[in-house]
């Protein structure tokens, strides 16, 4: 989770939804096994102390998918995905 580069050397750009968004809350707790406020705390420390780069917050799931499509090295999450061209999708099921 702390990796900042892909294996090919490219920078990982992380996109997330706002902290109160239900999908962000679910992804954080179920997949990352961390409470959203803990993530926010880690990211605030990175952003406001110079230690690193926090994820970029986008407002809607659609904007998140759009941002990932347009950004080399990007990663994010979504509930449903239509045909998104060159985006790689890793399907997660319980």
């Amino acid at each position: 989770m702390r990796q900042t580069q892909w294996s090919d050397g490219h920078h990982i750009v992380v996109f997330v939804l706002p902290r109160q968004h239900p999908l962000h809350q679910r992804f954080s707790k179920e997949r990352l096994q961390i409470f959203p406020y803990q993530l926010e705390r880690i990211w605030n420390k990175l952003t406001y102390s110079g230690l690193g780069v926090a994820p970029i917050v986008v407002n809607t799931p659609e904007a998140l998918i759009d941002a990932i499509m347009k950004t080399p090295g990007a990663i994010g999450y979504a509930e449903t995905v239509a045909d998104k061209g060159a985006v790689n999708v890793i399907r997660i099921e319980k």
Binding site: Q38, G50, V87
Partner: protein, 407 residues
């Protein structure tokens, strides 16, 4: 079960959760690919603070608006392994600290090694103190549990010296699926000390210059795998030199040494949080009042606190803290005797009971309120020549309200 789906697949509309990635760097370079290299963030906070019975914020005891924190930062990724970052802050805390604009950090971050389980970063320039629970963001209001941090560890009088330094820092992180996360930090450098900061420590009679000649700090944090607990240990060794003014200075040339050991623990549950730090610090003064003067004190402090999230917007805080300037003189009577009563015994300790609440008015807008009941005055400034004329109460109180916005 997870499955990786390749590019150009047919539409899939029913999916519980999906991880998306765009790893083909050569495709679709757009405005985003430039914009994500530059990030700009900031914060602004204004509050009111009322102190009864001490000069912690002001000398007249009136309700004060000297509770302002404003910051703006930027981070620019030059290459995947090289980054520039900087932050400028404006602070006004009344007597608590040197007010004005300052460069909080300005550094080059070199990601020297990066793999799935190991990250090594080197920072050069002005870096923050990354070693204690809240030290790296002590001026960033929404990252703190309270408006006023526990003064045993986060003594405002030492803020400018403890907040960071000019030099280099290394951070080594390791993640293990069995042992958990480890973070090791080491830094060495020195902090510029302004005339106002010198007088905050020593008093208005100090006319000379103070400079930090040596500072090395290290810390290790461990969070067991998928555990709500995190444990930390931090060490500090720092030397200062005071060069007295040629005429009219109350003090002589002097050497000062500060050494600290801090251990901390943090528990982060869904609704409850517990944390605390325990501190031992050695404060050595040589010469100073007269040639041959020597003082070697060991101070001790501890605070424990709990936060309870009532709902997604409201969080309550309770904290108790104890601090002794000299562990061998916990009631301060030796201090009073050695100064023939000039410095009252209650300058030997400072204990603080705090209650607070914070309410999120919007995603990035928070209102905080807190009340402190304090016994003793050991963490008031000036440190070296205290001011018992103004601080003539053993018990004093403060309350504060702070409105903060960040982006």
């Amino acid at each position: 079960m997870s499955s990786v789906l390749k590019n150009n697949l047919p539409p899939i509309n029913v999916r519980p959760l999906a991880l998306l990635s765009m790893m083909c760097a050569s495709l679709m370079v757009s405005a985003y690919s430039q914009a994500e290299n530059l990030q700009v963030h900031g914060f602004a906070a204004q509050g009111i603070i009322d102190v009864n019975g001490s000069n912690y914020v002001n000398d007249d005891g009136a309700l004060s608006t000297e509770l302002t924190e404003i910051g703006l930062n930027a981070s620019y990724i030059i290459t995947p392994t090289l980054r520039l970052a900087g932050q400028v802050v404006y602070l006004d805390g009344g007597n608590r600290l040197d007010d004005g604009v300052r460069v909080d950090y300005a550094l080059v971050d070199w990601s020297a090694y990066n793999s799935e389980n190991w990250q090594v970063n080197l920072y050069f320039g002005r870096y923050k103190n990354y070693h204690w629970l809240y030290s790296s963001t002590r001026d960033v209001p929404f990252t703190r549990p309270s408006i006023i941090l526990p003064q045993s560890v986060y003594f405002d009088g030492f803020r400018d010296i403890a907040v960071g330094a000019d030099g280099g820092a290394v951070k080594i992180s390791h993640s293990s699926d069995t042992l958990g996360n480890f973070d090791f930090n080491i830094s060495t450098g020195s902090s510029p000390i302004s005339t106002e900061q010198t007088q905050i420590i020593m008093g208005d009679h100090a006319l000379g210059d103070m400079k930090q000649t040596h500072d090395i700090q290290a810390s290790l944090y461990w969070q067991p795998f998928v555990s709500p607990w995190r444990l930390g240990l931090a060490l500090l060794d720092s030397d200062f030199e005071y060069n007295a003014a040629e005429q009219g200075d109350f003090f002589q040339d002097a050497d000062i040494t500060l050494q600290r050991v801090i251990a901390n623990v943090l528990y982060e549950g869904e609704n409850w949080e517990f944390s605390g730090e325990i501190l031992q610090e050695r404060f050595v003064l040589d010469d100073f009042y007269f040639e041959g003067f020597h003082q070697d004190n060991i101070g001790q402090g501890i605070y424990v606190q709990s936060q309870y999230k009532v709902n997604k917007d409201l969080t309550l805080l309770a904290r108790y803290e104890r601090f002794y300037a000299n562990k061998d003189d916990k009631n301060g009577h030796d201090l009073e005797d050695s100064t023939q009563g000039l410095i009252p015994h209650y300058f030997g300790y400072q204990h603080d009971a705090t209650f607070g609440l914070s309410y999120d008015l919007a995603d990035n807008l928070r209102l905080q309120f807190e009340y402190h009941y304090i016994e003793g005055t050991a963490r008031l400034t000036p440190v070296v020549l205290p001011n018992p004329q103004v601080n003539d109460n053993e018990n004093w109180q403060l309350w504060a309200m702070h409105l903060m916005y960040w982006f």
